[in-house]
């Protein structure tokens, strides 16, 4: 894989909302790259801005500032019509399987919609593509095609959404809490499905979720967000074995492993996450960080590479010497 331009490059993304007179800094300067063919996980707790980041990538939320370069083109600088065209290379899967599908349309029309919008295929060719896609996601096209979304379960609805997203042959798929609303066994089915489809269609994934175990399982690299800023980006296994940011350490230690003998020293965070309307000065995590010092209040830490492909934004990162 060439080390030249990544498929997606996010530079200093800022997304502010106005909420009852206050400005909420949902995303406060986030930069990362996604290489073609990889799965980047984006993890964080509620209010950290991960979903907003995903939506800002495809310009559903309008970024306040910053650049989103997809295949070299900055999406934020495009006019409406150009943006419509460029967006087809990125598709998104949403959290709520039911609300993602138009209740009044049949599944085959839902899946074929992108083809209809762009007039790409008609007639038999269109039907074939739809059938192929439905089969690829594990649904029987003869049975499923004629039905309406309300006749399907949550897991099946997600499959339909995935089929619809794949019809356009996107290069990048953003999965926004895609399995959070599903049962454990269905979740596993969908995660396996996505891995298989990724290999089959050469996809690149941005996987957004709050469950660290799910994200780690699916991703090559994981990025951790807190209150609108990135704390750490590292390959999945590195992140687990050598977390450098105190917040990552806290997240890992709080995870509930289904193993009665699991031993991990608990890092207990004090207090509650601060409000995004009035974030702390300097490092946003400092109010709950056991390692915070004076410098943390004065200076906002930037992402710095401390090991190959391992970046952390912290003045006093955890540097483990042992494994």
């Amino acid at each position: 894989m060439a080390a030249d331009s990544p498929l997606l490059s996010v530079e200093d993304l800022v997304v502010n909302f106005r909420k009852s007179g206050h400005t909420v800094q949902a995303v406060a300067g986030v930069s990362f790259d996604v290489i073609e063919g990889e799965t980047l996980g984006l993890v964080g707790e509620s209010g950290c801005g991960k979903s907003t980041t995903g939506r800002a990538l495809i310009q559903i939320e309008e970024p306040t500032s910053g650049a989103v370069r997809f295949q070299g083109t900055d999406l934020t600088s495009l006019k409406r019509r150009e943006l419509r065209q460029a967006r087809t290379g990125i598709q998104m899967i949403f959290q709520d399987p039911i609300s993602s599908l138009n209740p009044r349309r049949r599944v085959r029309d839902i899946v074929a919609e992108p083809l209809d919008i762009w007039g790409l295929e008609t007639g038999d060719q269109r039907t074939d593509t739809v059938n192929t896609m439905l089969e690829a996601v594990g649904l029987d096209p003869k049975v499923a095609g004629e039905r309406y979304p309300r006749e399907f379960s949550g897991g099946q609805c997600q499959r339909i959404s995935i089929a619809r997203a794949l019809v356009m042959k996107p290069k990048l798929m953003v999965c926004d809490e895609m399995v959070s609303a599903l049962d454990v066994s269905v979740q596993a089915q969908i995660l396996n499905l996505v891995e298989d489809l990724k290999a089959r269609y050469g996809l690149t994934l941005l996987f957004i979720a709050h469950d660290l175990a799910v994200v780690k399982n699916v991703s090559d690299r994981v990025a951790v967000m807190y209150l609108g800023r990135l704390c750490e980006i590292a390959p999945s296994d590195d992140l687990y074995h050598h977390p450098a940011h105190p917040y990552t350490d806290a997240l890992l230690s709080a995870a509930l492993e289904p193993d009665p003998s699991a031993v991990r020293e608990r890092v207990r965070l004090t207090g509650e996450p601060p409000s995004p309307i009035n974030p702390p000065t300097g490092c946003r995590f400092r109010t709950r960080c056991p390692r915070a010092e004076a410098r943390c209040a004065e200076e906002m830490p930037e992402l710095v590479e401390i090991a190959p492909r391992h970046q952390v934004a912290c003045h006093f990162p955890l540097l483990n010497t042992g494994s």
Binding site: I58, I60, R84, Q85, R87, T88, I90, Q91, M92, F94, Q95, D96, P97, I98, S99, S100, L101, N102, P103, R104, R105, E113, P114, I117, W118, L134, A136, V137, G138, L139, D140, P141, V143, A144, R147, Y148, P149, R150, E151, F152, S153, G154, G155, Q156, S161, R164, M168, A181, L182, Q189, N192, L193, D196, L197, A199, R200
Partner: protein
């Protein structure tokens, strides 16, 4: 793992897409005989109004001073009014006024107010705030007074009344359609359509409209009923169609003078109006619940 295609298939079998009864099939709600009876009644009234001239009715404006204020007879099935005109035929011809004002006014209201409502709900943001604020102001205004004033000033031809009443209904239609659209406009399937590159027009017509249509249809029918009543009120004030044109409202209004002499003059037009309005309301209501799909849950 040898063949990737095989691996994909193996993992994905038995959940083969066969929907089970876990979520529940779409149940078609039965529209009973009463519903169809009301539909038939509406159809009869509309048919009668359109083809009144070919039904062999007596001339509604034919005054016959020889038989004024008569009750139902074989010659005049519903009696005559104070000028000897046949009530039955006047009722049928009079339906025209109600239908034109009712459906015409609703058409204006729905095309302008409905479109604005859908666009507002879809775009939200500044436009929505401004237009909604304007609609609040207009709704606060006493509509009846405004209509009366404008009709009195501008004139009460049939088309003028239709336009005035239609425009008066725009704020309410706007709010109702906006509310109905809002619950769908925020859903992920709309965002997904945008992300696929659909134009706003396509999203409005192909994604939102099919979902909002049931609410629009049932509200329209009930709205037509309200407009017909409004026309009746205008008639009471002498502000509806000028005589001798028959209209239900005018007939009821005229009947006040002769109430103790000829109660039929009040009774029959009132009943005609009442039955028609009730049929409209019932059909509107039944359609709304029939088109209500139980959306599946996880």
């Amino acid at each position: 793992m040898s063949n990737l295609t095989d691996a994909v298939q193996v993992d994905l079998t038995p959940e083969s897409g066969l929907p089970t009864a876990v979520v529940g099939k779409a149940k078609s709600k039965k529209l009973g005989w009463f519903f169809w009876f009301c539909v038939a009644w509406i159809a009869v009234v509309i048919f009668g109004a359109i083809f009144a001239a070919y039904l062999g009715l007596q001339d509604p404006n034919n005054q016959n001073f020889g038989s004024i204020n008569q009750g139902p007879t074989s010659a005049h099935w519903l009696g005559t009014d104070d000028l000897g005109r046949d009530i039955f035929s006047r009722i049928i011809y009079g339906a025209r006024v109600s239908l034109i004002v009712g459906f015409g006014g609703m058409l204006i209201g729905m095309s302008v107010g409905g479109t604005m409502g859908m666009v507002s709900a879809y775009r939200r943001g500044v436009t929505d705030t401004l237009v909604s604020a304007a609609s609040y102001v207009m709704l606060a205004f006493p509509i009846l007074v405004a209509v009366i004033a404008i009709v009195a000033f501008w004139g009460h031809d049939l088309w003028k009344i239709t336009i005035i009443v239609g425009v008066a209904s725009i704020p309410l239609v706007y709010r109702v359609v906006r509310a109905a659209t809002l619950s769908y406009a925020t859903r992920d399937f709309v965002t997904a359509a945008k992300a696929q590159g659909a134009t706003d027009w396509r999203i409005l017509t192909r994604e939102l409209l099919p979902n909002v249509l049931p609410a629009i249809i049932s509200f329209s029918l009930i709205g037509v009923a309200s407009i017909i009543i409004l026309e009746g009120a205008l008639a009471f004030l002498g502000l509806s169609i000028a005589p001798p044109t028959a209209s239900w409202g005018a007939m009821i209004s005229e009947s006040r003078t002769y109430l103790n002499v000829n109660p039929w003059l009040a009774l029959f037009p009132s009943m005609a109006m009442f039955l028609f309005l009730i049929a409209l309301n019932l059909v509107g209501d039944a359609l709304r619940s029939a088109m209500d799909i139980g959306e599946g849950k996880l």
